[in-house]
């Protein structure tokens, strides 16, 4: 029954994943050329999908890897947007630079916010984050300098020609997508990433191994907030108009949840698949209004109960594909 293998190796990448990665690099290069030959509507769509994807991937990082389920990430999404807008409108900062700054502010603000949010656990943590997002929304709605409850427009890009603005926004979005994927992937492959998985599986055991659970969770929370802020700032550069209801809407979290549930939680490729599926569904079905949303809700319910691993999870289990491998596998010889 027991045979001792003579030797073993620990393997992470597969030949398949290398090939897919090379393909992905080519794809990015191809995508970067889009503004030269593509229609402007495509670029706008891409920017929108990019925002959905980044937001979903960050939500996924928090929930799937950090074990923290939040329905209040829109707080940082909106904050990123409003900071970007303020910097652009009032201090003349280049909006594209302001995107990164907005994200940084969101990331920094998440630290004191965590002192409050981390008082709660599990389902109550989720709702607590929603309350915090509501506080953000109501607070900003009272600030008349940014248009109060009805919002305002981004004036800083007024002087730039439309085609240029759209191209640069598009490249910015592409850069943000690549950067976020690299950031998350690098994080998960590192020692910190391994610690995260340990915490997700068993917090008490992880702590007993010397892992600073509190600091890790804060790190994940802050990174996710940064990412959410990035997505938000980018979205409103593309949209040019911001309002508290749009920026801090709980729908953002709902969309993230749907994308991750459909794509597959706990994996990097999941939000990617989910964002594409979500965009496609939006394209074809959003005309049906409320019935489309009812269908989405039912789909999320059914997938959570019967199809927990999501589309990519299914693919990974069935065929062992991994585009961004992070798990180490033992090969016995």
């Amino acid at each position: 029954m027991h045979t001792t293998p003579s030797s073993y190796t620990v393997v992470r990448g597969t030949r398949g994943s290398m090939a897919l990665l090379a393909f992905a690099v080519l794809l990015v290069a191809f995508a970067a050329s889009l503004p030269f030959w593509g229609e402007s509507s495509w670029m706008r769509e891409f920017v929108e999908i990019a925002c959905y994807f980044i937001f979903a991937m960050m939500w996924n990082l928090m929930a799937g890897y950090g074990g923290m389920v939040s329905i209040g990430q829109q707080a940082f999404f909106g904050l990123g947007g409003y900071v970007m807008l303020s910097l652009g409108n009032f201090w003349g900062v280049n909006p594209f630079v302001a995107i990164v700054l907005g994200a940084l502010v969101a990331g920094l603000i998440s630290i004191p916010v965590s002192w409050v949010a981390f008082r709660l656990q599990g389902g109550y943590f989720a709702i607590g984050t929603w309350v915090i997002a509501e506080v953000a929304r109501l607070s900003i709605a009272n600030v008349s300098a940014v248009g109060g409850g009805s919002g305002t427009t981004l004036t800083a890009l007024r002087g730039i020609e439309k085609a240029t603005r759209e191209s640069v926004t598009y490249w910015m979005a592409l850069a943000c997508v690549v950067a976020s994927i690299t950031l998350v992937y690098g994080f998960l492959r590192s020692k910190q990433g391994l610690a995260l998985l340990a915490i997700r599986d068993n917090e008490v055991a992880a702590r007993s191994q010397g892992i600073a659970v509190g600091r890790m969770k804060l790190a994940v929370y802050a990174v996710a907030a940064f990412g959410a802020g990035l997505a938000g700032a980018l979205y409103f550069v593309g949209n040019l108009r911001i309002s508290p209801d749009a920026a801090f809407s709980v729908n953002w979290s709902a969309f993230a949840i749907f994308m991750v549930v459909i794509g597959g939680i706990g994996r990097i490729e999941g939000p990617l698949v989910g964002a594409l599926v979500f965009w496609a569904m939006n394209k074809f079905f959003s005309d049906y209004g409320t019935w489309y949303l009812i269908g989405l809700g039912l789909l999320a319910i059914v997938m959570t109960i019967y199809f927990k691993q999501g589309l990519w999870g299914f693919v990974q289990q069935r065929w062992g594909w991994t585009l961004f491998p992070t798990a180490r596998r033992l090969h016995l010889k």
């Binding site: 329905i71 002192w115 309350v131 009812i294 809700g297 999320a300 959570t304």
Partner: protein, 284 residues
């Protein structure tokens, strides 16, 4: 003075919102993000029954057993499958339910706010003094809230059913070893919680206008009441509801835009200073 009374009365209503949430979390650690939407569903159920010709009070009474059945079925056939260590499945499923209920109501009733017509009862008042007059309806609601809280507390402490709820919540495995069917017990708890939800929804519809998108706000109020009050205690939940009602009324008084915002801030304040709530019961 009047603000304080209004706050306490509002607290009574929030108590009714919150008790169902507290019950579901207490028995099975389930957070129902669609809680507020089911309250609104209760309002519309009563509205529909009134539309079919029933008197408002009879409509309310008929909504209650319907709510019981819905709660039992939902828990038994959908939510039971989401229970476990991971909070995500129950969160996603209830979130999905929230979307479904809101949009279903939107389809059936449109976004117009409506109210349940009680022929002037909702505006009747009792005059305590020339300056101070208090609405009959809010007093009735407060009385109901107190009765329900006392009832739940008594049920949990002194009846076999309450013992069952406590045992299953403590240790599901050993409770099953005693012969209990945890799935059925959970379904009973949710059924009871939904009766409270149906009651709260009907009263909300009488008191003010309701529209399909109102749910999430009510969820947040219920949630804040439960957390501020302290988990594990129904009187605590009612106390938390009172605090919320008072804070909101004071906020409204200072500026119409500050009522709800003030409530949220008070919640965060209590969360930071006393995270276990005002009257927590420590559970094993």
């Amino acid at each position: 003075m009047e603000t304080i009374i209004q706050g306490v009365l509002l607290g009574g209503l929030y108590g009714l919102f919150a008790l169902g949430l507290s019950l579901m979390f207490g028995v099975m650690r389930l957070t129902n993000t669609a809680h507020g939407d089911f309250i609104i569903l209760g309002s519309f159920s009563t509205l529909t029954l009134v539309g079919l010709g029933l008197s408002p009070w009879l409509a309310m009474l008929v909504t209650l057993p319907l709510a019981w059945l819905l709660g039992y079925a939902l828990q038994r056939y959908v939510l039971n499958g989401t229970l476990g260590k991971d909070p995500l499945p129950s969160l996603v499923v209830t979130f999905g339910m929230s979307i479904v209920v809101q949009n279903l109501l939107l389809e059936l009733f449109s976004a117009d706010p409506r109210s349940i017509d009680t022929g002037g009862f909702s505006t009747q008042g009792i005059a305590f003094s020339p300056e101070l007059s208090v609405g009959v309806l809010p007093v009735v609601i407060l009385a109901l809230a107190l009765t329900v809280t006392a009832g739940l507390q008594w049920m949990f402490k002194s009846t076999a059913l309450g013992r069952t709820f406590r045992a299953v919540s403590d240790d599901r495995e050993i409770a099953e070893l005693m012969g209990l069917n945890a799935r059925k017990v959970y379904a009973l708890a949710t059924a009871l919680a939904f009766v409270l939800v149906g009651m709260a929804g009907s009263l909300q519809g009488v008191r003010t206008t309701v529209s399909p998108a109102d749910g999430p706000a009510l969820l947040l109020f219920a949630f804040e009441a439960v957390i501020m009050g302290g988990m594990g205690s129904f009187w605590g939940t009612l106390a938390g509801a009172m605090l919320l009602g008072l804070t909101q009324q004071v906020g409204f008084r200072l500026d119409p835009g500050w009522g709800i915002w003030g409530g949220h801030l008070m919640f965060l304040f209590v969360l930071v200073l006393r995270p276990q709530g005002l009257f927590p019961k420590t559970r094993g």
